[in-house]
Amino acid sequence: MAQRNPGDTGSAGEPPGLAALPGSWDELVARPLVQFESVSKRFGNFVAVERLSLDIREREFFALLGPSGCGKTTLLRMLAGFEQPSEGRILLDGVDISDVPPHRRPVNMMFQSYALFPHLTVEGNVAFGLRQDGMPKPEIAARVREMLALVKLDGFGARRPHQLSGGQRQRVALARALAKRPRVLLLDEPMSALDRKLREDTRFELMELQDKLGLTFVIVTHDQEEAMTVADRIGVMNAGRLAQVATPSDIYEHPNSRWVADFIGDVNLFEGRVVSSGLGHTVIESEAGGRLLVTHPTDASAGTAVTVAVRPEKVRIDTSASRVSDENCFAGRVVEVGYLGGVSIYKVALDNGLRMKATVANRTRPVERPAGAGDRVWLSFPPEAGVVLLR
């Protein structure tokens, strides 16, 4: 097993290009634990996963994120062994496991429905996998106790699943999947059945657990907030393909396509053409009118059609024209203000016909809001805020 520096598990701050460089430090130290090699899966005519390649590293918390039907669950189920790839190979520790049946894979899954055996007690459920391995009884008992303590369910061993709350059931499912110390723990929408508050607490518990046990976790979710919180890296999936694989901050700040920018969080998109591009700045002529200046590097030559993405919280809102400049500035009228507590969202109809969103943090208790529906405002953003997207 490749040893890694514990401080490196986060690895969230890596610049996007570096990990991909051949022979980088990261790759030398950690051979990928799981490798999908151009894997496809078809159900009849439906292509669920299409020639997908992906590496998941040892001790990584990896999230597969995407809209429903994008193939993320199929990918997870292929890793567990419930589905066979139509093409391609799946390697675990460098060994092809495509033909290994699920019960022989050192991989355990936490099911979306939890799939707790209703006729067995909590103990019976947690011990089930250990019994299959023929572990001696005293060891099983000890491991079960350890696992129940780990998920804070000591004393619940004799209960049956139907005597537990939703949150407790979820933790039994987790303990059961962890009991065999799998090489990879698979989590299929593990928190979809929990209410919001419990879901937030559970995220941090999961991260803590992963850190403590030093295991590799692969989570499937459609909840981007969940993926951003828990994961070291996220694979964003769309229509059977990986749209982007990167750290949460990279995916948010440096999306590699229009689709990813639009899927993750809120975004303002401007269509336009490159006027000039140099080191550290790109000038774009917006289709709707107006010039955009961004520092994001691009190798697009003049005349190329591009999209500029700007997150709403990076947009500044002014009620007077005092700071108006030629670039990155648009006049408009407020259509709607959504008060969310911590922040307010302004929807603005620009004079050039576009719609734009701006998020403003409510730093003080607003005695009066800076602008209300119908007010004339000027929106602007700094050159560092925009991202140029070619796709």
Binding site: F43, G44, A48, G71, T73, T74, R77, F82, E83
Partner: protein, 271 residues
């Protein structure tokens, strides 16, 4: 896209077991149907295609009479059993706790498994004790008693899966309980009541033991008639009458499923 391993296709083992099971169920019936068209009097010797046994059947006055008696008894007892069985189901699901509930449910479920000879004997002894003239009506009452439990089970499972808020909505809108039952509950559980009726009809039309015990002179049912013929040995006419009964069942099932389909279509159109 989630795929349950059953959706893509059944495993070979599952296909085989279903195929073998259905073959076991249908092969004897198929053989019977084929041999009903056998020209030969000897059941096992194939003498070419013929409908002579059907013609012979048409002239068997006793058999036709028995069939007519059975039909009337089955229709009457199935109707009575549907009413009583539905009431019993409503009582079990909707009436909450009441005194003697365990006794009540015991009386409802016991006839489901009670050996026919015991039920038949006990009913006969009752009719004797009451000094009732045995015949058409005693058989009808006996069949009603035995089949109402089956109706209850069918209706009960429908009532249990029934969305109670529909009734609550009706009452909330000012509909009194009885009217709610008649205008909301009954139409919604009607398919189950109809299924129960069919089941009761079949059970009654089929029954030999209880009818033999509870009948008197003058009311011979079709199974009693067939039984006495069969006891005398295999006869091709029996093959013929069996085929007719099978055809009737097949037509009934096809008609029922077509009706159900039309109902679904109408529902889909309305939605």
């Amino acid at each position: 896209m989630r795929s349950r391993s059953g959706i893509g296709g059944m495993s070979r083992f599952n296909v085989t077991s279903v195929a073998l099971g259905l073959a076991f169920l249908y092969l004897p019936i198929a053989i019977l149907v084929i041999y009903s068209f056998n020209a030969s009097r000897l059941v096992t010797v194939w003498g070419g295609w013929s409908t002579r046994w059907y013609v012979a059947l048409l002239h068997d006055q006793a058999m036709l009479e028995a069939a007519w008696t059975s039909l009337r008894i089955a229709a009457l007892s199935a109707t009575a059993a549907s009413v009583l069985g539905t009431l019993a189901a409503v009582a079990l699901v909707r009436a909450g706790r009441f005194r003697g509930r365990t006794m009540f449910s015991g009386m409802v479920y016991a006839p489901l498994v009670m050996p026919e000879v015991i039920t038949g004997l006990s009913l006969l002894l009752l009719f004797v004790a009451l000094d009732a003239a045995r015949g058409f009506w005693t058989v009808t009452i006996a069949h009603t008693t035995v089949t109402l439990s089956f109706v209850t089970v069918v209706v009960q499972s429908r009532l249990l899966s029934f969305d109670r808020s529909l009734e609550e909505a009706a009452m909330d809108l000012g509909c009194p309980p009885l009217k709610t039952f008649l205008t909301v509950t009954l139409p919604l559980i009607f398919p189950a009541v109809a299924a129960g009726w069919m089941l009761a009809f079949t059970l009654s039309f089929d029954d030999l033991v209880i009818a033999t015990f509870s009948t008197g002179p003058g009311a011979t049912t079709l199974p009693m008639r067939i039984y006495s013929e069969v006891r005398l040995g295999v006869k091709p006419e029996i093959n013929a009458i069996c085929t007719i009964m099978i055809a009737m069942v097949a037509v009934g099932v096809v008609a029922a499923s077509l009706l159900a389909k039309r109902g679904e279509l109408a529902k889909a159109r309305a939605a």
